[in-house]
Structures are given as C-alpha cells and as structure tokens.
Amino acid sequence: MKIITDSTADLTKEFILKHNIEIVPLTIHLGDKSWKDYYDVEPDGYYELLRKSSAFPTTSQPTPQDFVNAYSPFVEKGEPILSVHLSSKLSGTFQSALLARSQFAGARIEVVDSLQASFALSMIVIICDEKANQGASLEEVADMARKIGPQIETYFSVDSLEYLHRGGRIGKAQAFLGTLMKIKPLLKVVNGEVQPIEKIRTRDRLMNRFVELVEQAAQEHSQLLLTVAESDNSDVMTELLGRLERIPGVSLVFRGKIGGVITSHTGPGALGIAFVKDIRQ
C-alpha cells in the first residue's frame, strides 16, 4: 500500500524516505515569487525569507493534475493508495485529490479528509503507516484514518492573529481581534476549522496551559500519543517538550517544524501540540 499525503503534513525528509511516503506539495507565493513547499524551500529557509520580506504570503493548493501525476505510477503497478490530506475546511487540496481519483476508474484509491493540519496530520500519517505495515487492508487503514482525525485534539498558539485573519483561515475571531491588549491567542482545531479559544498574556502561562491540557488528557486516557511542531520557535518548543514528556503516559511520536505553507497562515512564532488516546494496543 502506498501512502500519499501533502506537504502540509510537515513530515521530515528522513521520515518520508524511511517510511516510503509520497508528498504532493502546495505552493507558497511571496511578492512575485513562488516556491513549492519543501521541494523548493525547507522550513528554516522559509522563516528567513519571511523575516526579510515586506510582502504578505499566500498559498495555493496542488492541481488535480499534480495528484494524477502522483497516483499514476502506483495505479500502473496495481498498488492500493491511501491519499490523506489537509482539512477540507482550510484548503481545496482534498478536492483536487478527489478529482484526480475520478480519473482512475476501478483503481483502489481512498482519499481521506483528515480535518487536521501539520503536526496533527502527521500523527494520522504515522499511525496509518504503522497499521499498513502490520498488514491491514486499504479499507481498514482508511476507516481508521477517518475515525482518528476528529479524535485528535489539536492546540496551537500564534504570536498574533494577523496571519490567520488576513489569510481568512479563522472563524469566530471577532472577540479576539478586538482585544486592545497584546495577547498570545491559544487556538484549537474544531471540526477541521481553526477557532481561537483563550487569550493568554505571557509565555509562561501559555506553556502552563499546554501542559495542563496534556495532563488532563493523560489522566483521562492513560496512554497518549503526542506530536508537536513550531515555526521559528525552536528553543521554546524544546523547553515545552521537556515538560510534556515528563507527564506519565505520554509518548512523543513526532517532533517537526511547521513548514512554509502552514507558517504562511500562522505567522512565525507558532507552537502546536496534538494528542490522541493511544489506539494502537
């Protein structure tokens, strides 16, 4: 079975090569230039670009043709394909993938809307990969992916809501945008959409809140899988992770960097965590 995802899963090159996963990139536009996410620019390089640019970034989804190109070699070999993607509420990527699938009548391709992004999407890909390696069928793995997406709790903070607001990737934010005081908004992914939930003033309290959220979930579920990522905020993430990994029952399955496309919508300085009850046992 071949697993295909998109560049917003923010998986590292090492992981992709080791696990034989295919990535279809989205595209970043900054000023009059464009980059294919990860193919043309890695996260660290993009942070640098963003710091130097006065322009505001935009992004675009892969075309259906990009997915046709990605699917073709595996369809020809008769290999089943699991194609799992960025939340359809945040991007047209899933739509493009669906259109591409319709070009391959009779092929075994499951296209899944993860209702997640970045480090939470990577969590799904990692779990699916394990399941596939254990010999599960395409349908079994796809069912699990659809089931686990909504179960993952995804929280992240941004330095300001400006990027999310300008990119139109945020619902119900009026109360937060009107706040005169500088805040570090804490956001949650709910049904595939981004919702601001708390206004936090200091870094210290933000970290405590992340820890509290994981502690509560760990108490409820006893065994938790955790993924984390940050954009241009590595030291803080290291500190936070040190605290999260000490919580009993928590296993870190992936630490990544938020790539160019997602950073274009969160802005630099974002910190994110995703966790879910360990369903592997």
Binding site: A175, G178, T179, L180, M181, K182, I183, I197, E198, K199, I200, R201, T202, R203, D204, R205
Partner: protein, 533 residues
C-alpha cells in the same frame, strides 16, 4: 427620666439627628481621611450614604416601625458610597433586619440587633483592617451588649455606646500606624461617633411627642449638596437610546437636572442609560427627542426589591459587569469582553444601585462582577446579594487585575468554569500606581512632600521622588520578579502621549529583558497605573 422604648417616630428622629451631625462635620471628616488612601472623601461618602437614608425616610407616608426600618435599610444600601459609607450602610440595614416585626424598641433590641449588624459588616469587607470604623463599631457593639444586661434605659445605653465609641476612635492611631504618622484619628470611625452623638443628643434633649414630624425636613438640607434633592428620585429608569450623534457628556449633564445615579454607557450611536428620577416620563420624552428609545424599564424602587422580575430568557452562559474608571480603560474592558462597564473607581464610588442596575441589564442570568478596587468590593457584594440573578463578585482590586480576569473569560464556557478561571487569572498580575501627593505626610517611614510623586504597590507607598522619571522605575523594581515577562503601563488623562512614550523607553532601558507595553488608561486619580506579570 429613663427611656424604656423607642417608638417608630422617635427612632426616625434619632437616625435623622445622627445624620445631621455627620453632615455638619463632613468637611472635617474629608480632611482627616488618610486610610486606606488619602483621597479625602470619607465625609462626603458617609454624608451621601446617610442622605439616601434621609430621602427614603422622608418619602414615607406610613410611619410604622416596620416601614421605617425598611426605608432606612433600603436607602442605606442604595446610596452606600465609599468604604466607610458601605460599613455604615451594612450596620443600618443589619439593625433594621434585626428589629423587623417589632412595633417599638427596647435597649436590648438595640444592643442585640446592633451587635449582629456589626458581625455582618465584618463579612462585607475584603480585607478588614483594625483601627478603622470596623474596630469602632465592634467595640461599641460589645459595650452595648454589656450595658443592656444592666439597664433598660435607652438614654443610658446610647450614652455608654458614645463613650466607648469615643475611646475607640481615640485609640485608632495606636492600631493603624498610617493614622499615627499622619497625626489623625480614623475618619470613618469618627463619622460613626458623630452619628451616635447625634442620636444621643436627640434622646437626651427632646421628648417624643413634642417633635412634629415636619421638623425632619430641615435635617435633609443641612448640607449644601442636599438642596437639589427635594424630589424623591424613587423611579429607577433604564432605556437604550439609538441615534447618530449622541454625546455622552451632554446626555449626562442634561439628565443630572432630572435625577441622580446616572449611568450612561455606549458610543455616539448607541447608549444605555440608567437614572433614578422622580419623573420618568420627562426623562423619556427628553431622550426620544435625541433618537430612538427602546428597552424601556421603569421600576419603583420602594417596591422593586420584592417584586423585581427577571422575565427575559437568556442564552448566554454568563455576562461580565466591570466597574472601571477612565475612558481608555473602559475601551480596553469593552474590547476584552465586558458586557457592561459601570463608571467607578477610587475617586468615584458607584452606588449599590448602579451595580444592581448593571447586573439586571446584562443579557445572561449568571453575572460575573469585576469591582477592580477594594472600596467597591463591598458595594458589589451587596449588589450581588440584592439581585435576583446569580452574581459572583471576583476580588479584583485593581484595573490590571480586572483585565487579567477578563482575558481569561470564555464566551462558551460554563459559568462556574469562568468564575474559577477568571479568579485565578486575576491573581497572576501585580499592579501599582504613580500618583501625586496632595499633602506633606510621612507614610511607611517615607517622607512625602506635597506635589511629590509616590509609587504605591500592595496598598503601601514604595517610594517617593520629585519626578515621575525617578518614581516609576523604582516602583517597578520593587514589583518585578525575574520570572515576569511583561510590564504594562497605562497613562492617565493628564499625561501627554509623548511623555508616556518617554516613560516607556525609560522602563525598557531599565528592564531590557521584559516587554514594556503602553496603553492609554485615561484614569484621573493616578498619572500611571503599571502592572507586572
């Protein structure tokens, strides 16, 4: 001649005589007011509180003891202003509660109801401090209970109470070093002593049947400010005014000719108005000339307490009412999610009624109140007890604490959760003030000269210098801890923005590893309010 009972009439006269003596000494009480802050308003606050009592008594047709004590309690609670005013109101309403159902009062009734009232007053204060009016009323109550065991003569009882109160007032500087340093006794305690003395004066000098009820009128107008209050403003009137160019100040000014307890909140297009008036019709006519009037609510406050109905269904889990002073702060509170902001702060205490009205006006049946000053906490607690809604008062004792609490408020969270989260959040910020000293004084061992600047934190003067530039960094140094991240500066209405920006740079240089933020607060009592978190 021994006086074994007080009739309703005579009890009213006692209260009025007590009030009169406080009115007469108002300026003196203002002058000696140094605790908790030397803001010179104790005399005014106690007078205004008693004025409300006098007004309620005067409005009565029926002169039974029952209606009298109810009117006293109601007036005191509605008009209560300031720390000492609130305590006095608590005591009057507590006494009234204790003697409900009687048709005349014995010495024992007075002593026991007074003693119970004092216990209630202690509970109403956020941080009860000894050496204040609280000490005076407590010791007086103890003496009254003792005296009532040996006598049934009310004249003797009140005489004993006055003697004890006087000794207690004289002792306040021993208990409260701030008073000793300033060379004064506690203003609130002294105000209470005047009140008792007024009663004693009446009990001694006048025979019950010789006093015509009309004489009471004079008492109400002893003080200059009282002259405008010949009408009884018994109708609590509220409405929403929609227009195009509503001026809040003009509206307040015009309305002040028609009533009191005026609260106007909103902007040039939409204003919520609250007023106590004798002629609600006139007020509404005036308003409809300015724009579209809706959501009209007129309540007779004399019957309001028992008959208030909460009819509208609410879908909101909770609403936040904040008591705030300064237009910049008001905007910050509205933007951070407060549903209604009531004007009030250290120099301007809102009455309990203002807060009750705000609680009744907001959408949810569950209300969270941010008093943002410890003088306002007791009024807020009383308002929370009086409303038919569920209301919780958080112990926010500064505007930054209020903001911190408000930022933790979540629209969709259950009420209890919001209360807990906000309460916790309010404790995560430290706040101080830089203000100008109005007189020469030595406080906390620090010599302060008139027009020097003082830096206060945790209710104590931390430092004092001739300039703000010297005062502010030293104050922040006292407040900050290494783990703090943000210093927030709110400048007052007399401070120029460019000066405030200079102060921001000075602080940033002194504390290079912290973020220094600057906002316009618009407060009038302090040049700067500063918070560290």
């Amino acid at each position: 001649m021994a006086i074994l009972y007080l009739s309703a009439k005579r009890f009213r006269l006692c209260v009025l005589a007590g009030a009169e003596l406080v009115f007469k000494n108002r300026d003196h009480l203002n002058k000696i007011n140094v605790f908790p802050v030397p803001d010179g308003d104790t005399g005014s606050n106690m007078s205004m509180t008693l004025m409300a009592v006098v007004r309620e008594i005067e409005a009565l047709q029926d002169v039974s003891l029952e209606t009298t004590v109810k009117a006293i309690a109601w007036g005191a609670l509605m008009g209560a202003r300031g720390n000492s005013g609130i305590i006095l109101a608590q005591i009057l309403s507590g006494v009234a509660e204790g003697i409900e159902g009687k048709d005349r009062l014995s010495a024992e009734d007075v002593a026991s109801s007074f003693s119970r009232a004092v216990k209630k007053a202690y509970k109403a204060i956020l941080h009860p401090a000894e050496g204040t009016i609280l000490t005076v009323v407590r010791e007086t109550a103890e003496a009254a209970v003792e005296a009532a065991k040996t006598t049934s003569d009310l004249a003797f009882l009140i005489d004993e109470m006055v003697k004890t109160a006087r000794v207690s007032v004289e002792r306040t500087p021993e208990l409260l070093p701030k008073l000793k340093e300033a060379g004064v006794v506690d203003a609130g305690g002294l105000g209470f002593l005047y009140f008792l003395e007024g009663m004693l004066y009446l009990v001694r000098g006048v025979t019950i049947d010789d006093v015509p009820i009309d004489d009471e009128k004079e008492l109400a107008y002893m003080s200059g400010e009282a002259s405008g209050h010949q009408l009884s403003y018994r109708y609590c009137t509220e409405f929403v005014l929609k227009g195009s160019q509503i001026s809040e100040d003009a509206l307040k000014k015009d309305l002040s000719l028609k009533g009191d307890s005026i609260v106007v909140v909103g902007d040039s297009r939409l204003a919520r108005v609250h007023i106590h008036t004798g002629q609600p019709q006139e007020v509404l006519q005036y308003a409809s000339a300015l724009g579209h009037v809706s959501s009209i609510k007129v309540d007779d406050m004399l019957v309001q307490h028992t008959s208030r109905l909460v009819s509208q269904k609410s879908t909101k889990a909770s609403s936040v009412v904040a008591i705030v002073l300064g237009d910049g702060f008001k905007e910050i509170f509205y933007n951070a999610g407060a549903e209604l902001v009531v004007d009030g702060g250290p120099t301007q205490n809102p009455s309990t009624m203002d807060i009750v009205s705000a609680i009744e006006t907001v959408e949810s049946l569950n209300v969270i109140i941010l008093p943002n000053h410890k003088n306002i906490y007791p009024s807020a607690i009383q308002a929370a007890e009086m409303t038919t809604k569920q209301a919780t008062v958080l112990k926010t004792s500064s505007l930054p604490e209020g903001i911190s609490a408000l930022l933790a408020y979540m629209d969709e969270a259950p009420y209890e959760e919001n209360v807990n989260r906000m309460d916790q959040a309010s404790q995560q910020v430290k706040s101080g003030e830089v203000l100008v000293a109005s007189r020469d004084v030595t406080l906390g061992g620090i010599l302060v000269k008139t027009n020097d600047f003082i830096g206060t934190y945790k209710g104590e003067i931390q430092c004092s210098f001739a300039s703000i530039k010297e005062t502010l960094p030293v104050l922040v140094k006292r407040m900050h801890e290494p783990s703090d991240e943000i210093i927030t500066l709110f400048f007052g209405d007399t401070v120029k923005k460019s000066d405030a920006e200079t102060m921001q740079s000075i602080l940033q240089m002194s504390f290079p590893d912290k973020a220094v933020e600057l906002y316009y607060g618009g407060q009038s009592h302090a040049h700067y309010i500063v918070s560290v978190e």
